[in-house]
Structure formats: C-alpha cells, structure tokens
Symmetry: C2
Subunit: 493 residues, 2 copies
C-alpha cells in the first residue's frame, strides 16, 4: 500500500531522519548523481517559485532591479579582498580546461591537456568580486549612485557534508549588491533589506525570526557588519534564514571603485550585499511540519485547497464532479489556488494521506450524502481537525480559514520559540540547559576567545546580538567581565 | 553632450557595429572580465524577465511544471549517447578540482593539486544526460507518464567567437524535457512546443517566424528530428529563434529508462526537449530597431510609456507634475507600464533621445501650454511621428495606440520578410541572389553532400524544411535530382 510506503520516521524517534524522509517522500528534492548537488523536484520547486515571486516583488517595491553577472570568477579576483579570500576561496569548484577530446583508447572522452585556461575560473561561491569589478565601469559620479541590483542565480560551495536544502554544493539564491555615496545610506540599506527578509519570513513563511547582528567570528568574509535573521527549528536548533551585510568600502577599495562626490572630490563607494537561498526551504519544512508530513503556510502553498470526491460509481462521480467544479470556480474567483483531484485510479484514503504529506492547507471532501444534504467536509492540515459545513458560501469560509491557518501556524511557531527561549546567568547552568536546545539569552564579554571556548565546550554559537537589545547590562557568564546586553546562544544548522 | 556620445553607427554603414553599439548604449548588456561571458544589465534583464514570465505562463498553460537539475554533469554521462557527445562534449568548461590553497609564495591562491576530482565535471552545455539519468528513478510505469518538466537555467558552451546575446560562452535559457509512453505523443509534444514558441515570437516579440524541421546536418546532437522557428533579421541574415527536438528513445536507451506499459511489457520511454535562450534578445533587437536606437514591441517593453515634463521653472514643474501624476494613475488603472521622468537635472531633449534609444513605445510630453490648452503631445517610437491631442481620455487613446504599435511592428517585419524572400531555380541565380541576403526558397535533393557543397561555396545553410510545405515538387538546383518541396536557404547568425 502506498500509504504505508510513505510513512515517515517520527520527529521524536529521529528528527534528522524525519527531515530527510519528508523531503524525499513529499517530492520536494532528491540527491543527484553529482555529489552534493540536489535535484529540486516540481513540487519543491513550486514552493521555491512562490518564495521567489514574493521576495522579488518586495525587492522591486523597495527600488531594486534585477541583473545578471557571470557564473565564473577569475581566480585572481578572489584574492583582492583579504578576508574574502579566506572565507570563500577554499572549497570551490575550479574550471581549469575548456575542451574535451575523444579518448585515445576509444572509450569516451578525456580532458584535452592543450586546452588549459591561462587563469583558472572559479564557479561563483558569491559574486561580490565579479560585481564590484563591473561596478567600477558603472560608477563615476554621485549621480550614478545608488546602484541597487539583485541577481537570482545558482552558486557553488564545495561542502563536504551535505543535506538537502540545508547545505548543498550547488544551491539557488538571490544576492543583492548595492553601491552608495555615504556610509549612512549603505547601513540604512543593509538594515532595510534585513527588515524585508524578516517581514517575508514572518508574513509569508509564518516563521518568527530574531533580527540581530553577527559577532566578528560569524561575520561574512569581507563585511564590516553582518545582520541576520535567526529562526528556531522544532528540534531546538537555530537556523540562519538570511543575512544582509554592510561591506563598508572594502570591495570598493579592492576593485578601485571611486566616485566624484558633490564637492568634486573622489571617494570610495560604500557597499552592501544581502541574500537568501533555497535553505529557506529547509527552514520552512522544519519549522511547521509534523509526523504526518509537511505543513505549508497558505501563502506559500502551491495549491491551498484540494477537493477530493468520495464516490462509489461513475454516476456518483459525475454528479460530485459537477458540484466540485462550481466550488473550484468560486474559489478561483477569490484568487485561491485549488486542485480538484477527481482521478479514479486512486482511493480517497490514499489521496487524503498524500495531500496531508504534501501539506495542502485545506482539504474539502465531497460525497453523495453531501450532495443530498447540501454539505461538505472541511479539514485543515495544521490542526488535523475536520467539520461538516453547508456548501453554500464555502468559498468565503475557506478564504477566512486560510487566513486563520496562516496566523495559527505563525502563532504556534511563536509560542514554541517563547517556550524554548530561556535566560541563563551562570556557565554551569548554560552547559546543562544547552542540551535541551532552544535559544539561550546570556551575557558575553564581547571577545572572540570567550566565544570560541563556549563553542568548543558546548557546540553552541552566538547566533546574534539582537537589534532589539533591550536587556540591562550584566556580566559575562564565563569570565564575569562586563557585557552591554544579552546575546543569543544556540546550537545551529 | 550625452546625446552625441550615444550616437549609433548607422545600419547601412556597418550593421554589425550598429548592433554592438546599440546593445551597449541602450544599457542592455556588456562584456565581462570573463572571456565570452556577458553581464546582462538591468534594462536588458527587465526585457528578459518579461520574456521569461510570458513563456513560463504559456508553458504552465500547456501542462508543464518547473524543476531544477544540477549545474554539473559527470564527464562519463556525455559519452552515453553517441551523437550527443560529438555535438556537446568538446568545447565546454571542465571542473577538475574542488579546492584552492594559499600560494606557497604568499601571492594569492593556487589550485590545490591534492583536491583533484576522481571524475571531472562538465558545466552543463544542455541537460539531457543528467535529466534522463534522474528520470530513470521517476519512471517505472505508464502511470508515471508523461513527465512534463521545464527548467530555467544558465548553460555554458565554450564559444571561440562571441557576440553579446547572440553567442556567448554562458547564456540563460529554458530547457523543457518531457517523457512519454508513445512515439506519437512525443512527436505531438515537440510540435506543440514549437507552436508555443512561434506564437510567442509573433504575438509578443512581433517577430514573424517560419516553422520548419532541420536537415540531418543541422539537427540537435541526439535528436531524431529538430523542429525550429527561423526569423529574418534586417541585414538579410536568418536567426534560429527556438528549437524543439523529438529525441525518440535515444536518451531512454542511453540511460536505460524503461516503463511497464498497460499490457505489462517493458518499453523504452519516448522523449522531447525544447529551448529558447537569451539569444531571443538579439533577435528582438535586430528585427525592429533603427538608427535612433531600440524599437521595443509594447508587450515586452519594461515600460510602455514615458511622460516627460517640459518646464521653465519649479513652479511650472509642480503644476505639470500634478497633471502628469493623474495621467500615470489613469494609465496604471489600465495595466499600462508607465514611467514619469520628472527629474530636473536633465533636459527634455536629453530625455527624448534617451527614451528613443531605449525603445519606449510611447512618449508623452507635457508643457505649460498643454496645461492651458488641455492638450498633450503623443509621440510613437515605431514611426517617430507625433501629434498633439486633448489630454482628456488620453489613457484610453494610449491603450489603443500600444496595440496599434504592436501590430505595426509585426506587419513591418512581415513585409520586410515578404520583400526579402525569393524563389530561385538555378544554382547560378542562387549564388548571385544569396549575396543580397534574405530567405531563398529552392529545391534540394535531400542529401548532406549537396547541402555541404552549397554551404562551402555560398556560406548559406538550409535554415529549415518548412512545415507548411505547400510548394510543388521539383528538381534540386544543384544536382537536378528530384526534390519533394522547396527548402529555405539563408546565411545565418
């Protein structure tokens, strides 16, 4: 039976296995023949497309335009910015040749040794270098600023241990790269895009996030400040869902990008970059789903409603189909994405399990008795509850229900985070509590040494220094030295 | 003066230089630091986004879904399909290593010789191999068919001579890959997608195309039949704007993809693939533009209307702006994409030249006298004509005008093609006429040898055997052997 085949490992039994099972069984993604590279399957990609479309609209509404820059980066570019090369020029895919030839032994093809590139090309792990090399030609005067570009692209980082969506050698993302005349404007941009990410996470992904700034240890290679949004997964581990970097003048200096200011003086340009990736899919899956499968927030669900006819024979099916199509029309008139699954080669029970697994927010079931009684069964995925309602005005009811579900999923995640966020003052207590997972608010003396020692001893990292840092000052839980505000510790993905 | 700087080479003087000038000066694209790879600039990318969005809607309306497959292809995969490897495994980017390390001499980074891949990876030149290797796991039974996937992606073919949009080492495209239970269904799919491409070219790009099938010489490496749409550019050269391949069972056999049919027997799956790329941008530019710059069909123009205020002082500007904003609202209410350029640091003359260069279909100019008279100046880009009209109901007028412009651009291209399509019966006449450019309809004996000789002697290729092959049979212009129908010869991009 298909239902049994698709059974998931429970979260309690093995959270990590549950995640892997879910990604595969809900047809979201799978591993490919190329180590560390995934195939994003149509159902997973449909969710990613909704994420993309919404973010793209938000980027455009904040004045950004899309562009496209090369996949390849000349090796020497990576060395231009000193800390950038340390962070990115190590584990990456290197193109050394541009031609294959028939194998001398007649078996397949081999690399043509004569077609060696003079300078190796790196498959972009991120595009600051190639983009700032381009901006050099775009920016001469303050009138050319700001430049507010975004790119949707694939990037490659040669990860040794990969997990579908969470950490893959190739992944899809967007990377915004902006150029500004002043430091203030660049900082403002970095914070603005952090807020866009946070709004998106909360309103669309139903995922509460903490906005904060990274410590020096966790900062993007080449950034002056890295802002981030951090979310808490159901297993108590943190997940960084997006970052926005204030890059200062580091890349402008590395690529000599200067502009004539209003006073006629030459100055280096100020920069930001910001990105989210297919990793968001991992966050979306882990934040809300349960042992029955995916739970999708209605705003990102490829289809928000599925209608399943319950019938004994073709005659019944024909009548039910007629009624169902009217409901489809009524729902579509309200811009609700609906699928009518009137296939007759699968049993209703199989369909119920399938759409539960795939996280469709609302399921409508319609049988012969419903036709007689003028009713319909309405089941919601988030609470797994169902009720029989009059079919009249069902579309309007579903519209309200979808908004309720979106809000309920968010509140549930928010409650979970509240229940799993604690305040700790002693390092002994910290070492005990960190085993339970969750966010721990604690004081830290601000030094990389203390941070490193805590990481080494507990596997916990400082996720961020919250921007809403309204905690009173105190003393570092490890060293007793002064601390301006509490920071968030957690074990993380 | 900016106007002078942006002056284009005329088409008559040097068509090729005119094209290059236009792509650069209209801010569509530019060469990057990486040989053969282009940067698609925001204005160019905005046009590509409109192309993408429209095609994507058409793919979905015909039952297709999007997915994403790896950037890299294991080298051995390319050798699996014999003719495919000949066509694609030669000029390509080869990843041989996965790590860099600090240079021993302290200068930058070098490839770490210890991080050599066991099997080299090829940056995809097209994805049949990796996709059919994946489909093997997706397809077991006739119930799993058809599979109707499309992917939007970047691909790399190591071209020696590159031209922006027309031929670049990296380009953006979509590639559809479908799997079917029967030959008939696969052929039907290939033809269906050819028709989608032709509809798109004609209705959106305003580009008339000939639908046809390629000769064996020009067929996609691995295809049984390659269908194509061919367009004629203003310099009399042909441009292949899209292809759709019936792949038979070639890839199913190469990757052992079989299914159990309804009778319970194992059969190889039937395949198609089809794609269009950023090359369409080249076709769009070359088909319609003139010596003043781009001419964009309204349906693909990032903004369809620009409003330019003509003012002597701030007071005038304030009044004109008020009126202009009302017009913006009225146009947007009709879903017309409009830009109000009320910047005061550029002169109206500069703006006129700039938007002409960028191909904005309709320009509205509004001055102080217009406010008094209740008028507005309306200029159309395609004909370079202008008239002064009552401002009342201007939005409705512009809506009609945009439809007129779309149709006019198409008719102009259609007339151009009609004037430059001739029928030729002797090879001597062919050799003379081919120098004038255009499509030449001639008889051909169907052999690759004849085709090769004509190509060698005249640089003309058979663009396609038209599907609407309603010409009477005849005799090959070169050999006198029988020919079933005329084919289209041209010199091509």
């Amino acid at each position: 039976m298909a239902i049994e085949i698709k059974e998931l490992t429970s979260r309690k039994e093995n959270y990590s296995q549950w995640y892997n099972d879910l990604v595969i069984k809900a047809d979201l993604a799978e591993n490919s023949a190329v180590r560390g590279c995934m195939v994003i399957k149509p159902y997973g990609y449909a969710i990613w497309e909704r994420i993309q479309r919404q973010l793209d609209d938000m980027f455009k509404a904040t004045g950004h335009v899309n562009a496209y820059f090369p996949l390849f980066i000349p090796k020497s570019f990576l060395s231009r910015e000193a800390s950038h090369v340390e962070g990115f020029a190590k584990e990456c895919a290197v193109v050394t040749h541009y031609r294959l030839k028939n194998s001398p032994n007649g078996q397949g093809v081999v690399v043509d040794p004569e077609a060696r590139l003079e300078e190796e090309l790196i498959v972009r792990p991120t595009s600051e270098t190639i983009i700032w090399n381009t901006y050099k030609n775009w920016i001469q005067s303050h009138r050319d600023l700001p430049v507010l570009c975004n790119q949707w692209a694939n990037v490659v980082r040669w990860e040794m241990r990969t997990r579908l969506f969470l950490r893959t050698a190739e992944f899809l993302w967007q990377e915004g790269h902006t150029a500004h005349a002043t430091k203030e404007e660049a900082v403002e941009e970095a914070v603005k895009m952090l807020n866009v990410y946070a709004d998106f996470a909360e309103k669309y992904m139903a995922l509460p996030v903490v906005k904060g700034v990274k410590t020096a240890n966790e900062r993007f290679a080449g950034a002056v400040d890295t802002y981030c949004i951090e979310a808490l997964m159901q297993d108590g581990k943190a997940l960084q869902a997006g970052t926005s970097h204030f890059l200062g003048q580091n890349f402008a200096k590395a690529f000599d990008v200067q502009f004539l200011n209003k006073e006629g003086q030459r100055e280096y340009v100020w920069a930001t970059s910001w990105g989210v990736s297919t990793r968001l899919m991992g966050a979306l899956i882990m934040a809300h789903s349960d042992d029955n499968g995916l739970v999708l927030p209605p705003r990102l669900a490829p289809f928000q409603v599925v209608i399943v006819p319950i019938f004994k024979n073709d005659e019944q099916l024909a009548l039910i189909r007629e009624q169902a199509r009217k409901i489809v029309d009524a729902l579509e008139a309200l811009n609700i994405r609906v699928k009518l699954d009137d296939s007759d080669n699968k049993k209703p029970g199989w369909k119920f399990a399938e759409y539960e697994l795939k996280g469709v927010p609302v399921r409508l079931a319609l049988g012969a008795r419903d036709l007689e009684n003028g009713t319909i069964e309405v089941a919601r995925r988030d609470t797994l509850t169902k009720e029989t309602l009059p079919v009249e005005n069902i579309a309007a009811h579903v519209q309200t229900l979808l908004a309720d579900i979106q809000e309920n999923i968010y509140q549930k995640a928010l409650n979970f985070r509240a229940e799993n966020t604690i305040t700790v003052d002693s390092y002994d207590e910290f070492k005990e509590k960190i085993e339970d997972g969750g966010f721990i608010l604690a004081h830290w003396d601000g030094t990389p040494e203390t941070e490193d020692r805590i990481k080494e001893e507990t596997k916990a990292t400082i996720r961020c220094i919250p921007l809403a840092g309204d905690t009173p000052p105190g003393k570092c839980m490890l060293t007793g030295k002064p601390s301006a505000q509490r920071v968030i510790f957690a074990r993380a993905y």
